[in-house]
Symmetry: C2
Subunit: 292 residues, 2 copies
Amino acid sequence: MRHALGIDVGGTKIYSAVIDENGKIVSNIERHPTPATFEDIKNTFKNIIKAHEKDIDVIAFSTCGAVNNENNHILGSTGNIAKGYPDMPFTGLSSKPVFVENDANCAAWAEYKIGASKGTKVSVMLTLGTGVGGGIIINNELLKGQNGAAGEMHFKMYCDKRRKCTCGGWDCFEIYASGKGLKITAEEISKNPEITTYDVIEGVNNNDSMMIEIFNKWQDDITNGIIGLSNIFDPDCIVLSGSMAEFVDTEKIQTNANKEIITTPIEVKKAQAGNYSGMIGAALLAFEKGIK
Amino acid sequence: MRHALGIDVGGTKIYSAVIDENGKIVSNIERHPTPATFEDIKNTFKNIIKAHEKDIDVIAFSTCGAVNNENNHILGSTGNIAKGYPDMPFTGLSSKPVFVENDANCAAWAEYKIGASKGTKVSVMLTLGTGVGGGIIINNELLKGQNGAAGEMHFKMYCDKRRKCTCGGWDCFEIYASGKGLKITAEEISKNPEITTYDVIEGVNNNDSMMIEIFNKWQDDITNGIIGLSNIFDPDCIVLSGSMAEFVDTEKIQTNANKEIITTPIEVKKAQAGNYSGMIGAALLAFEKGIK
């Protein structure tokens, strides 16, 4: 059985582990804080690789940022990570094959191979965290687009400029359906600029009617985005992952979305591939596409 | 060279012609009003087929309504055509192979093979008519979805229930970007319930400031939808077709959309495959996929 060294690169942490062809983690999981500079990130990668290089067949990066169609280069900006990071020479880091893919795409692939969307024809995964990521799989292929940047969940929820999105545009799905979106909805309804997403979740658990109103509005926004994506893709399944996904009521979202979807009724499911789905998906993709 | 009998089925007219493998129409184009009943539509098909059957290799239907992934059966409702139409036994109409695809998908395929999106990796075609149709091509394949219904341009432009859409949902792209959408925008701004899309276009030509405002609002709605589709698909090219497309300023839409698109800049083009792109696309698809 072949093995991959999976490396998951986020803005705050870098995880790594050895993963087999079944998507099973077969080593300890190493955790490093993401260094602040390009050189220190590169050195962290080198040290991780050095420790495992002789035992593995491919190095599989799951990274923040869009990744090109050749899976070796990051396209453009990547949020809160060192500025020069997109210039990382991934393929130069090892004599073994190196495969790179966007983290949301990797997580979607893990769900498709060993998780919630296993066996589906068309699936859309939404990562609901501080922001919103997307990974779309059609007939056993990731939707990558012209240059590899597809799956950005920046489509408008309103066209009259209400909320500025982190992307610089206005009123994208991300700025409504994310944790940040929940906080803004909470501020708008409660008129309290100090309110946190934690306050909302706790309030819902304590049956606080205003917190329930806030939460339902946020969940309706997620549902409205899912309706549009479903009419566009006619998917079997929408998978919700990320830290905010644990709070949502998938059954309610599914029922309400299917009332408006005009293509085929969908299933809405929570992710099942676990916390390390990024590096697991990267490894499973690398076995299929990263070893020539 | 092989030949297809292309038959384009709309709510008001049925067109037919013999088409070669280059997408060239090599016979007269026949026009029939679409009969009001299932039986009469079926008889019209039979008569068209009978006249050409011996000279062609495949029969290629471009039809209103979503078509299944096996390209032989219509899924669900099809707007203003005889009620039983989705039960049409297409494959039983001839001893020659019969291939069926949705009209917007066919037109998108014609643009991809011989028109505006020729040579692209990912293209999205929007048919701006009374409604809005969509056809999406990714890596030489039509996006069909779980059951064949993908490409429905029913994603929300607002989430606060402003306009009821023809699909039964609220505030879909279709009810803003279509001819019907332009009329509603005109009614809202002019406060005149009798205003027509023709009044708006004529007013724009006469430099009437209110008509220009209405038109620009409609065109901005089209642009806003294109921004979302572009971030989702990272396409090379958006093709605008249909009766309303002739009025839009593709250069302006392209410039404004690219200001907000965070994936890769797109091209916005008008369709080039002509008025019969539906049956031409059906024929070209049938040559590739309809003859076993």
